[in-house]
Symmetry: C2
Subunit: 218 residues, 2 copies
DNA sequence: AAGGGCCGAATTGTATACAATTATGCGGAA
DNA sequence: TTCCGCATAATTGTATACAATTCGGCCCTT
């Protein structure tokens, strides 16, 4: 039953390349040669090409016309840019979610919030990673309930790229988990109150705080 | 020297499929069978597949996993949604452009504005089409000068989809070309004055006016 | 020595054959 | 009749060969 020769070669290629970019083994500016990658992964060029396309749409890879694909080069300024664009879009989304979210949706968000607080209380080495996963789910949950798939699609690549950027430029940034938990509570409260303006400004505060995480006493 | 047998099959496939979607020959929900399209265009499946990927990232085509690609179905409500998202993003872009734009950039915008006014003054059957082309260049010009390639990439698909949506749901909408020209002048003035807030609100006005074009006396 | 054009190598673009997956329609059982 | 399962057809996924393009260096000219 070792019969999983390669059911999703394109997906495997995608994950493989993405992982190598995240780890920094493929540095920005490096050429991504289809044949080399194919040999390395053990598939043909076809799924590699599909993976590169996908990575390009997600903004991790740059390819112009017929020229070879390269790992996209990022400037540190783009970290802040991503935060600002996320603040713009996600605050708008939060405002819409305030009128559109269902009780079930609110329950999900509360559950995630509780889990995050538990992670923070527990602490430990793995806390930041666990927290980040739950945090992504929290933000994505709000996007699900804002009633606009298109808006959600706009934000997705921003989050994606931000992961690379943060790791490259600010790898050891302090997360201020406790402060984030408070923000999440505020956001949930605003959504529960069906107050778009409040939700919007809370979300903006939350994201722009992450941009400037150097406040004392948080 | 008839030597252009098929140098850019993928691009040709892309344009072909896109045109058929725009014309409504491929209706929303229709399956896009790679082999049929390939035979019709006269290329192999490979470039057709690339074209479909591209159309998918632009939001005109929907494809989930390995299932067949379909022409994306649009709801009329998405017309307004696109306008609102464009208003959100382009007003932000205009605000940034107010401080980032170069004199040369301003000159370009003024030139486009002048051309648009000439088209309106001239009138004729082709005026709306000519105007739309120049109008797109105007909006894209501002995005070029806002200093954020990422922001520009976010807006591009919105404009793209909007073209399909408008044609499908509001094909004979009145353009209010004269009013748009005034808006453009206002926007240019705001950029020239290096006033972000002014540029931002003028752009928002411009786009939300297009959303509700039923005002009298424009 | 600097610059431009040409040739070979590296790489991507396209076509096609085949494998894997998904969809469809039929037949049988409840 | 309705629903489930299975066989078969339709379609997409992958591999590979070949064509076209781009890249890089060398040589020739100035």
């Amino acid at each position: 039953m070792v019969k999983k020769p390669r059911q999703w070669a394109a997906d495997e290629a995608y994950r493989h390349i993405r992982r190598r970019i995240f780890r920094g083994e493929l540095a920005p500016g490096d050429s991504l040669i289809e044949q080399d990658l194919a040999a390395e992964i053990g598939v043909s060029r076809t799924p590699v090409r599909a993976a590169l396309h996908r990575l390009e749409t997600e903004g991790l890879v740059y390819a112009s016309g017929n020229r070879r694909a390269m790992v996209r080069e990022f400037a540190e300024a783009e970290v802040d840019e991503c935060f600002e664009l996320r603040a713009l879009l996600e605050s708008y989304a939060a405002g819409r979610a305030a009128t559109a979210i269902t009780p079930a949706g609110l329950a999900e968000l509360k559950d995630l919030s509780t889990q995050m607080e538990a992670v923070v209380a527990e602490g430990g080495e793995e806390a930041p990673v666990k927290f980040a996963t739950l945090n992504d789910q929290f933000h994505d949950g709000i996007l699900w309930h804002c009633g606009s798939q298109r808006l959600r699609d706009l934000i997705k690549p921003l989050v994606q790229v931000q992961l690379v950027l943060m790791q490259r430029f600010r790898p050891h940034i302090e997360m201020h988990l406790q402060r984030s938990c408070w923000h999440h509570r505020e956001i949930i409260a605003a959504l529960e109150a069906r107050d778009p303006a409040w939700a919007e400004t809370q979300m903006r505060t939350h994201l722009l705080s992450a941009k400037n995480p150097a406040v004392d006493g948080a």
